[in-house]
C-alpha cells in the first residue's frame, strides 16, 4: 500500500514539475529578453522587428544579423531600439556581426549590472527537450518547447535541426535547455514544426572575438567574413573529387563529391510532341548568406543540359538551340546599389578534356562577372558553354557563383570547362 502511494506521488510530482518548468523559465528569464526594432528615421515607424537576448552584465545583446541588416547596410537611414519586458525602449548601437552565421551583437546602456543568459559549454543530446523563446508577430513574449534533432545533415555552415513551431518575429531569440543555458539561436523555419537554429558555439566565438578586439567598421568586418567563407567553400569545391558521370548516355559531366552540393535530374522524354529531347542535371548548394532582403550571396548553381533533335533540320535545331542559351542570368536579385553591371566576353574554346573519355568537344564559351560595391574583392560570376560540333546534338554546361574571389572563380572555371565533354 505504501509503495503504491509512493509511486503515485512520485508520478504526480514529476508531472507537476514538468508543467512548472516552462513557467519558471519564462518568469526568470524575461528581464533578459528583448524585442529589437529597426526604426526608419524618415517616417519614425518600425520597419522590421525581431527577438534578442542579453548575454553580458554590461549590456551586450545578441540577435540575428538579418533583423538589423537594413541598419548595417544603410546606417544613416535607420536606428536600432530595444523594447524590454517592462515596456521601456531605448536606442542600442551595433558593435559586431557574423554575417555567415546570421548573428549580430548590439549594446545598450546599463545603470547597474543586469541579469543575462549564460551560454552552455556543451552540445545538447539528441532527443533532449529545449525551449525556444521569442516575440512572434509582435504578439508578446512566448515559450515554444521542442526537441533537439542534431545538426542538419549536408549543410556547409552548421545549423541545428529543431522540431518546434518557431515563427517569424522569433528570429534572434535564444533556445535554452532545462538548465536555462543557451544552446542555440532561432534563425529560420521550414514551416510545420521544422525549425533551424544557429549552434551556440558560433555566438561564443563571436562574443569572444568581440571582447578580444572589437571591429572598427562593420562593413569591413562583413567583407572579411564573406571572403573567408568563400575561401573555405571554393577550396572544398576545387579540391574534392570531381566524378565523371554520364548524361543521357552521350555526354560526360562532373559531379563534385561534397555532401553540401545536391543534384537533381529531369528530362522531357514523356512529352511526345516536343521538337527537341532534353535531359538536365542540376546541382546546387542548398544554403546562402543573407546580406539584405533582395541580396543573397554565397550560392552555387550548376546545370548540364543535353539536347537531341527529333526530326529537325540542322539549321532549325541550332536556331531553337540558340534561343535556349540566350537568357542566362544571376540567381540573386541584387540591385544597382549592391553590384556593378555584368561585364562579358565570349570565344570559341576547345578544351583538353579531363573527363573519362577520349572524345573532344568544341564550345562557344561565355564568361561574365560583376563586382560587389561594398565588398571590393568579391564578384558574382556566370559561365555558359554551348557545344557547336555536332549537327543534331547539343551539350550546354553552365554555372553561377555568387560572392567569390577572382582567383577562385578562374580556377573553378578552368577546371569546369575541362571536365565537360562528349562520351
Amino acid at each position: 500500500m505504501k509503495s503504491l502511494f509512493a509511486i503515485f506521488f512520485m508520478l504526480l510530482s514529476s508531472a507537476i514539475f514538468a508543467k512548472e518548468s516552462a513557467e519558471e523559465i519564462f518568469a526568470q528569464l524575461t528581464p533578459s529578453l528583448y524585442q529589437i526594432k529597426l526604426i526608419d528615421k524618415a517616417s519614425g515607424e518600425k520597419s522590421s522587428i525581431g527577438s534578442a537576448f542579453q548575454i553580458s552584465a554590461d549590456g551586450i545583446i545578441a540577435t540575428n544579423y538579418h533583423v538589423i541588416s537594413s541598419y548595417a547596410r544603410h546606417p544613416e537611414k535607420y536606428r536600432i531600439e530595444y523594447l524590454d519586458h517592462l515596456g521601456n525602449t531605448a536606442q542600442v548601437s551595433l558593435v559586431s556581426v557574423d554575417v555567415i552565421n546570421d548573428l549580430a551583437l548590439v549594446k545598450r546602456q546599463v545603470s547597474k549590472d543586469m541579469p543575462f543568459f549564460s551560454l552552455s559549454d556543451k552540445k545538447p543530446s539528441k532527443g533532449e527537450q529545449l525551449f525556444a523563446l521569442g516575440n512572434p508577430h509582435d504578439l508578446g513574449m512566448i515559450v515554444v518547447p521542442g526537441t533537439y534533432n542534431g545538426l542538419k545533415k549536408e549543410s556547409f555552415n552548421e545549423r541545428i535541426h529543431f522540431t518546434g513551431s518557431i515563427n517569424s518575429g522569433m528570429s534572434g531569440g535564444p533556445v535554452v535547455n532545462k538548465l536555462e543555458q543557451v544552446v542555440g539561436i532561432n534563425v529560420a523555419t521550414s514551416g510545420n514544426q521544422i525549425g533551424f537554429l544557429v549552434p551556440h558555439e558560433k555566438l561564443v566565438n563571436l562574443f569572444d572575438s568581440y571582447l578580444a578586439s572589437p571591429p572598427a567598421d562593420i562593413k569591413q568586418q562583413m567583407a572579411a567574413q564573406l571572403l573567408a567563407n568563400q575561401e573555405k567553400l571554393m577550396n572544398a569545391l576545387i579540391n574534392s573529387t570531381w566524378q565523371s558521370k554520364e548524361l543521357a548516355g552521350n555526354a560526360m559531366f562532373p559531379l563534385i563529391d561534397v555532401p553540401f552540393i545536391r543534384c537533381w535530374g529531369d528530362s522531357n522524354a514523356d512529352k511526345t510532341d516536343a521538337l527537341i529531347l532534353a535531359a538536365v542535371a542540376s546541382c546546387s548548394l542548398d544554403e546562402n548568406t543573407y546580406i539584405s532582403s533582395h541580396f543573397f550571396t554565397g550560392s552555387v548553381e550548376i546545370e548540364f543540359r543535353y539536347m537531341q533533335a527529333k526530326d529537325l533540320s540542322d539549321n532549325k535545331f541550332y536556331h531553337l538551340y540558340q534561343q535556349q542559351i540566350s537568357r542566362a542570368g544571376a540567381g540573386n536579385r541584387a540591385g544597382k546599389d549592391d553590384v556593378s553591371e555584368y561585364q562579358c566576353h565570349h570565344d570559341l574554346v576547345m578544351p583538353e578534356s579531363t573527363a573519362n573519355t577520349s572524345q573532344e568537344i568544341n564550345n562557344k564559351s561565355v564568361f561574365c562577372t560583376r563586382a560587389y560595391k561594398d565588398f571590393p574583392q568579391l564578384f558574382d560570376v556566370l559561365y555558359l558553354g554551348a557545344s557547336i560540333d555536332k549537327d543534331q546534338q547539343a551539350l550546354v554546361s553552365h554555372f553561377t557563383l555568387a560572392g567569390v574571389s577572382q582567383e577562385n572563380a578562374m580556377t573553378f572555371t578552368g577546371k569546369f570547362i575541362e571536365a565537360v565533354s562528349w562520351k
Binding site: 553590384v339 556593378s340 560583376r370
Partner: protein, 350 residues
C-alpha cells in the same frame, strides 16, 4: 535668135556688225506656250506659227483653257514689230507676270520674254521661243544597264519568289511546333506583301509628282536589295558566330546594311525622280540616317538605368558554318581575367 537672160551672180556680202538688227537674230514669229503647274511641271505644250494668239475659256480661242477663274476671252498675245506683246481683255481676275512680284494686273500691253510665266486665274502659262536654250544632255549612268536587267518582268518575278522563299525559311525556323506548311506559306506571302509596300509607295509618290512611276523597276530593285540585305544579315551572323569578343571584323560588318540601305534609297530616287545628283545623294543620306538613327535612338531610350542581367553574344550556327579556330582554356581564362578589372572599376565609379 537665142535670147538668154543672164541672171547675175549675187555678190557675196557680209553683214557688218552695225547692220545686225538690234532685236534677236532669229525671227520669233513662232511661239511655244506651255500649260504648267505651280511648280512649272509641264501639263500641255502648244506650238503656234501665227502672229496673234487668243487665249481664254471660250471655244473660239487658239488656246482653250478650262480654269473657271479665266474669262472666255481672257487675253491675247500679238507679234508686233519683232516682239510678242501681251494684252489683257479687261478680265475679271486679271493677268500677272510671275516674275514681277506685284499682284497688280497688267494694265497696258507688256512685252513677253523667253521663259516668262503668265499667271491667269489659277493657271500658269510659260512662254518659250524656238531658240530657247535647253539643258545639256544627261548621259546614262552605269546604273541604267542594271535597272534594265532588274525591271524585266521575269527578273522581278524571280526576285519576289526568292524573297518569299527566304521569308518562308525564316518562318520555318521560328516555328515552335511541328511543321505547318499553310502557316509558313501565309507568313511568307504576307511578309512579301508588306515589303512590297515600299516600292509601291515610292512609285506612288513618283506618279503624284508627275514623274514616270516605273513600278516594275522599283519592285525589281527593291526586292533585289531586300535579298542582298538578308545575305548581309547572314554574313553578319556567321561573323558573330566565329569571332571572339573584341574583333574588328564584327564592328566593320555592321556598316554593310547601312551601305546597302543607302544604295537602295539612291536607286529608288534615281529610277523614280528627276533631280540633280547632289540632291539625290542628300535625300538618300537623309532617309538612311532617319532609319538607322531612329532605331538606334529607340533602342537606347529603352535601355534600363541598371541592367541586372548579363548581355552577351549567344549566336550559334550549325557546324558547317564554323570557320574559325578555337582557343584553349588558358587563353580563355586569361581573357576573362581582364573583365574583373573592368567590373571593379564600374563598381567604384558611382
Amino acid at each position: 535668135m537665142e535670147v538668154t537672160n543672164k541672171i547675175p551672180e549675187p555678190e557675196a556680202f557680209e553683214l557688218s556688225a552695225e547692220q545686225v538688227p538690234s532685236t534677236s537674230f532669229t525671227d520669233h514669229n513662232e511661239i511655244i506656250i506651255e500649260e504648267v503647274t505651280r511648280n512649272h511641271k509641264l501639263l500641255h505644250r502648244h506650238r503656234l506659227k501665227q502672229n496673234n494668239v487668243s487665249i481664254g475659256r471660250d471655244y473660239n480661242n487658239d488656246i482653250i483653257l478650262t480654269d473657271p477663274h479665266i474669262c472666255p476671252q481672257h487675253l491675247s498675245l500679238n507679234y508686233v514689230q519683232g516682239a510678242w506683246q501681251l494684252a489683257d481683255n479687261n478680265s475679271v481676275n486679271g493677268t500677272t507676270l510671275e516674275s514681277e512680284n506685284t499682284k497688280q494686273s497688267l494694265s497696258e500691253q507688256r512685252t513677253v520674254n523667253d521663259g516668262d510665266v503668265i499667271v491667269l486665274g489659277k493657271s500658269q502659262l510659260r512662254i518659250l521661243f524656238s531658240d530657247h536654250k535647253v539643258a545639256e544632255t544627261v548621259a546614262f549612268s552605269p546604273f541604267e544597264s542594271l535597272i534594265d536587267i532588274v525591271r524585266n518582268p521575269i527578273a522581278v518575278f524571280i526576285s519576289i519568289a526568292l524573297f518569299m522563299l527566304i521569308a518562308a525559311n525564316i518562318s520555318y525556323l521560328n516555328q515552335q511546333t511541328a511543321i505547318n506548311i499553310s502557316q509558313i506559306f501565309v507568313s511568307a506571302f504576307s511578309m512579301s506583301l508588306l515589303f512590297a509596300l515600299w516600292p509601291a509607295g515610292v512609285a506612288l509618290v513618283s506618279h503624284l509628282t508627275k514623274h514616270d512611276p516605273r513600278v516594275l523597276a522599283q519592285l525589281g530593285i527593291s526586292f533585289s536589295f531586300f535579298i542582298l540585305m538578308w545575305l548581309s544579315d547572314l554574313l553578319e551572323k556567321v561573323i558573330s558566330f566565329n569571332s571572339a569578343s573584341n574583333s574588328m571584323l564584327g564592328i566593320a560588318i555592321t556598316l554593310l546594311p547601312i551601305a546597302l540601305a543607302f544604295s537602295l534609297f539612291w536607286l529608288n530616287s534615281y529610277i523614280g525622280f528627276h533631280m540633280p545628283a547632289k540632291r539625290r545623294l542628300f535625300i538618300a543620306f537623309a532617309i538612311t540616317s532617319l532609319l538607322f538613327g531612329g532605331s538606334y535612338l529607340l533602342q537606347y531610350s529603352k535601355k534600363p538605368e541598371f541592367n541586372p542581367h548579363p548581355s552577351y553574344n549567344s549566336t550559334i550556327m550549325a557546324p558547317p558554318f564554323l570557320l574559325a579556330p578555337s582557343s584553349n582554356v588558358d587563353e580563355f581564362v586569361e581573357q576573362s581575367n581582364k573583365l574583373f578589372d573592368k567590373a571593379s572599376k564600374a563598381a567604384q565609379a558611382d
